[in-house]
């Protein structure tokens, strides 16, 4: 038996494998440092706004649009900088848009994924899968244009009544630019991502488990729902986390269709609540970014960015925590 040959060493004294390991390790460390630098930079820029407002930054009080105007005009000559900002309507708008869209698209995406993986005839599957992939890659501005030209006028004409408009006319204008328009289009945007991840998770369920259940005489729907979907729960969590992150950061489309007013839709208004305008955090950053050169405005904008960044980190953590109890089922995450 020939002795195993030793790995060839480079002139520097390192084996090719070690070199690759070091290089990749350095690359990963570089990326981590970059992320860390990004977080530090965002929070450092955001700090003056948080420090001057405290926890009231997240609370209600006044009209944020007027506050924004006061903040950026305060950087003009001979004026004291103003930092007062109470972001509750904007934070509430972000929560509503994100949670609404994720709930709506989760149900739709789950049923579509189950259909595609288990019940769809081969020819439908061949059509559906590329369509879903195409939908996932459509730029958000196209969805925004569709919203402005089709959905917003439709909601304005056919969903909102004149009585509803009159009832809130002194506070807010119900013109079709609304939470509903934002949620519906956002659902359309994030559903393909969910469908893709859910489908992969459902396909990974071992066939033997399903066949065992079918062999016991249990019908296909019940088998797939009880075993397939249950086993694929980590994938459902992963898909939902990814889609929520996309929804949270969506900017252009929401700036185009939600009405651009920092107003907190009020559930106590009844059904009108859904057609009230709002403006989420990312859209607010986009609309106020013109004023980045004003120092207090820059700190306020970075404070909003820091909230988004923190939410995204929290979301990843929540996703990881949600997957932990599911490990006992032995399904692949």
């Amino acid at each position: 038996m020939a002795p195993a040959s030793r790995p060839r060493r480079a002139p520097g004294g390192l084996a090719p494998d070690q070199r690759a390991e070091l290089l990749l390790g350095a690359l990963v460390c570089g990326v981590l440092l970059l992320v860390l630098a990004l977080v530090v930079f965002v929070f450092r820029e955001a700090w003056p706004s948080f420090a001057r407002n405290g926890l009231r930054w997240f609370g209600p009080g006044g009209n944020p649009d007027q506050q924004i105007e006061a903040i950026f005009t305060s950087s003009d000559l001979l004026r004291k900088p103003v930092y007062t900002f109470h972001a509750w309507p904007i934070v509430w708008g972000t929560l509503l848009c994100t949670v609404g869209a994720v709930c709506l698209s989760f149900v739709a995406a789950l049923f579509v994924a189950v259909f595609v993986v288990e019940f769809a005839p081969e020819w439908i599957r061949r059509v559906l899968e590329p369509v879903v992939r195409l939908l996932a890659s459509v730029p958000s501005v196209i969805f925004g244009l569709l919203g402005v030209l089709v959905l917003v006028p439709f909601v304005g004409r056919h969903v909102i009544t004149n009585d509803a408009r009159r009832s809130v006319a002194y506070v807010v204008s119900l013109s079709g630019y609304s939470l509903l328009a934002g949620v519906v289009i956002l659902s359309l945007m994030i559903s393909p991502l969910m469908i893709a991840v859910f489908s992969d998770g459902l396909r990974a369920v071992p066939r033997g488990w399903l066949e065992g259940s079918l062999g016991l005489g249990i019908n296909r729907w019940r088998t797939f729902w009880k075993i397939g979907v249950r086993t694929a729960r980590p994938a459902l969590v992963a898909g939902t986390v990814l889609a929520t992150a996309r929804a949270l950061g969506e900017t252009v489309m929401l700036a185009m269709v939600t009405g651009g007013v920092s107003f907190a839709p009020n559930p106590a208004d009844g059904l009108i609540f859904f057609v009230e305008p709002t403006r989420p955090l990312a859209a607010t950053i986009l609309q106020t970014a013109e004023e980045l050169t004003s120092s207090p405005m820059r700190h306020t904008i970075f404070a909003m960015a820091a909230v988004l960044l923190f939410s995204a980190a929290l979301l990843s953590l929540a996703g990881w925590a949600a997957k932990q109890p599911m490990r006992k089922y032995g399904a692949r995450p």
């Binding site: 003009d76 009405g259 651009g260």
Partner: protein, 288 residues
């Protein structure tokens, strides 16, 4: 020199040509930014200027009038187009009037209303008047008001000229561009919005209202009788302005050709020559 070195130099030279070529061809590219309401005029004028200087290429980013002025202050843009007069915060900038424009108040064509007073427009955009019948319209519906967000130069002008410095009400839907306001009004029977002259012309789907009895038209704007007449401004750095941008600004302000383009694009030429320059007569050759 060895053959290998010669070959290497040849390859380097061959690679250098395509890398250097774009730099040379972009020598006359001038970056500008500013008002989105001024973009339709700028596009038409920049296309027309090609006949004067075919090497001049302009890239315009409509990021808002106020942002454009700041871009010039920071040296990011060679020029900015602006719809409001200079403010104390515009230090280090030189403002020049280019042409006249009107900020029109527009409604949906389904609205029978022909005109409003400045006071009525103020009441609508401050949320004091919320029903069309309160201002004598045929519509039995609440008003849907559309405007620009607070960082737009157009809003700054509207705020000072109409709202007396007050902030527009929460019941005004705030949109990002002039075109979006026009589309929103065109698609909403109860809509009203303030838009630039170019975005409210024929084909835009909106109807311009008379303000204080004066139509939002070139004739009333040129004589400054229309209350929301305003100048379109070019903003250049006070020191060392870009030569191409300066020449372009002079051409826009004074030339007959630019005046024709401005009028065609929907604005009103203010300082342009009214007659085309006379062509120099050719001398008749004496026959010998």
């Amino acid at each position: 020199m060895t053959t290998r070195t010669t070959a290497l130099l040849g390859v380097v030279a061959a690679l250098a040509v395509p890398i250097a070529a774009p730099a040379a061809s972009h020598a006359a590219t001038v970056f500008g930014s500013g008002s989105s309401a001024m973009q339709p005029y700028f596009d038409a004028l920049a296309a027309g200027y090609k006949k004067v200087d075919r090497h001049a290429t302009f890239v315009y980013n409509p990021d808002g009038g106020n942002a454009g002025a700041r871009d010039v202050q920071q040296g990011k843009s060679a020029f900015a187009l602006q719809t409001r007069p200079p403010l104390p915060s515009d230090s280090g900038l030189s403002y020049s009037k280019l042409f006249l424009d009107g900020l029109c108040v527009a409604v949906n064509p389904a609205n029978s209303l022909r005109g409003l007073s400045i006071g009525q427009v103020r009441d609508i955009f401050l949320g004091n008047v919320t029903a069309w019948q309160q201002v004598g319209s045929n519509l039995n519906a609440p008003i849907s008001a559309f405007g620009r967000n607070s960082t737009a130069g157009l809003y700054t002008f509207f705020q000072s000229a109409v709202l007396d410095g007050a902030t527009q009400a929460t019941n005004v839907t705030q949109l990002d561009t002039d075109g979006e306001v026009a589309v929103a009004v065109a698609r909403n029977q109860a809509g009203i919005g303030y838009v630039g002259l170019a975005s409210s012309g024929p084909g835009s789907g909106v109807k311009r209202l008379k303000l204080g009895g004066q139509p939002c038209q070139a004739s009333a704007i040129k004589t400054l009788k229309y209350p929301l007449s305003r100048y379109g401004w070019i903003v250049l750095p006070a020191r060392h302005p870009n030569r191409t941008a300066t020449r372009f600004a002079d051409w826009v302000r004074t030339s007959y050709a630019a005046g024709q383009i401005i009028a065609k694009a929907g604005a009103v030429p203010a300082f342009n020559a009214t007659h085309p320059p006379k062509k120099p007569k050719k001398r008749a050759r004496k026959r010998t």
